[in-house]
Amino acid sequence: MDVTVGWCSAFDPSWVATRLFWASRPPALCFYHLGQYLATVAVPTTGRAILDEDLGVGGLSPAADAAIAGSDLVYLSSHGRLDGNTYRFRLRTGEWTPTHAPPAGGPAVLVLDTCDLVTPAVTPKNTTWRQAGQWSPAIVLGFSGPASDGFDASKRGRMFAEHLATGLTYAKAWFRAIRDTQPPQQRDKGIAIGFGPTVIDARHTLRTASLTNPPTRTVADECAWQRR
């Protein structure tokens, strides 16, 4: 299994995007604990980290592009926003739009640990996450609304790996990771979006994809989602 994690924690100019103190922790903890689990079950694993330097000036560096394109699971953390109906991931300078001309090769599971993968008022099928004929991860995980930056909240990366290791689906592991790292009163709302050529396929992916039932990269013709 090829895993890439990355984070962007400081931004230029700083008044546009405030510093994220704990951005490195969710992806790093996910990789560390997922790697430990995969080692115990003897699954060959490669890991790459892309940091602020590669999430750079107005776009991903070629190294970051290559790392993402060559991975099964990508977990990235930074600021994010929904610009109209298009999600944008904040880089050190500028933004990256993961739905803009995605390549055929790339991750089957993409975790975007940022605010506003979609907003609570917006349905994913009305955003550019769904684009007929575009390549897409089978599952995208993130937040519907704000994502907390805090020491304990950042442990969601570890929890995600822990719950995946117990056999939960990617969607359920993500929801449980958020639930286990925040008290109910201030809990962020997670979202899981499944993709496929039909809604039935997208739902099936969302319902069944797990470490033991790995999804494959697909098309974004249709999507199914759940928020929790």
């Binding site: 008044w15 546009v16 995007a17 405030t18 510093r19 994220l20 103190f21 600021h79 994010g80 926003r81 904040r90 605010c115 506003d116 349905t123 994913p124 099928k125 609304g145 704000p146 994502a147 907390s148 930056d149 805090g150 020491f151 304990d152 909240a153 442990k155 570890r158 929890m159 822990e162 117990t166 689906t169 969607a171 359920k172 449980r176 639930r179 286990d180 790292t181 925040q182 008290p183 109910p184 009163q185 201030q186 809990r187 962020d188 809604v199 039935i200 997208a202 739902r203 099936h204 969302l206 319902r207 249709e222 999507c223 199914a224 989602w225 759940q226 929790r228």
Partner: protein, 254 residues
């Protein structure tokens, strides 16, 4: 609203003037959920965890809570287990809010039997309003649990119930303490002063998630900041500040 120190000063002053600080809680055996539910099965792990902290599963059909013979766990069964855990917790100077949900759609959806064109997998059946869990102190005070721990979560998984517990058993420390000075709160807030943000302060015992080791459960201020400036990226920060100092430590005394 531009964040200023005054946003939290009044709240801090009122809270710390109204009562002496609650005691530290020292984590100790035995384990609440084990004691409450003798049919709980802890999932094996190579790591050493705190008492009361683990992933578990239980088989409703082997218990006396629900013997209706229905294969799949339903909301009624989950609620029954939640009540049972809550009642046991009351005997251990805890009021535990058990957080459960039943993912009917995601669990039972069978492709082909549903022609909805809407992609949403629907609403969950879930435990009622997410309330605070509380620790009941010897002097009769109830102090809320404000961290990610101090709770039990349940979730139906086919015919089983799985869940996590982060309910550490404790003894109340017999060690006088005093409130920290407001400066300690200000230090934590300093990087955020002047930004446009809403502040929600909370106070209570702060327990860690079930994966973490913790020997002492401390009274803690939790400050949740959510940016409100539409020109910036949305942000939400969770800051924690230990609320008390042991007597004798005058460095940050109020």
């Amino acid at each position: 609203m531009r964040l200023e120190a005054g946003a939290v000063a009044g709240w801090f002053g009122e809270l710390t003037a109204s009562a002496p600080p609650p005691d530290l809680l020292v984590v100790a055996a035995p384990d609440l959920v084990d004691r409450a539910l003798d049919f709980v099965h802890e999932m094996p792990t190579l790591e050493v965890r705190d008492p009361g902290c683990y992933l578990f599963f239980l088989d409703p059909l082997s218990s006396t809570v629900d013997d209706r013979g229905d294969d799949r766990v339903d909301a009624q069964t989950l609620a029954a287990f939640a009540r049972r855990i809550t009642i046991s917790a009351n005997e251990s100077r805890r009021r535990i809010v058990v957080d459960w949900d039943l993912d009917n759609d995601l669990d039972t959806y069978d492709s082909g039997d549903d022609d909805r064109d809407e992609g949403s997998l629907g609403e969950l059946q879930a435990s009622p309003v997410a309330e605070d869990s509380f620790v009941l102190l010897r002097d009769g005070r109830s102090v809320p649990s404000v961290g990610p721990g101090g709770r039990v979560t349940l979730e139906a998984r086919g015919t089983l119930i799985t869940g996590t517990s982060s309910v550490r058993p404790f003894v109340q420390a017999d060690q006088p303490a005093s409130w920290v000075a407001f400066d300690a709160v200000l230090d934590e807030l300093a990087p955020f002063l002047g930004i446009e943000a809403e502040l929600t302060p909370r106070f209570g015992y702060y327990e860690y998630p079930w994966t973490d080791r913790q020997t002492v459960i401390r009274p803690t201020f939790v400050l949740v900041l959510e940016s409100s400036d539409a020109t910036q990226y949305r942000s939400k920060w969770v800051l924690t500040v230990p609320a008390t100092l042991p007597t004798g430590d005058d460095s940050r005394r109020r």
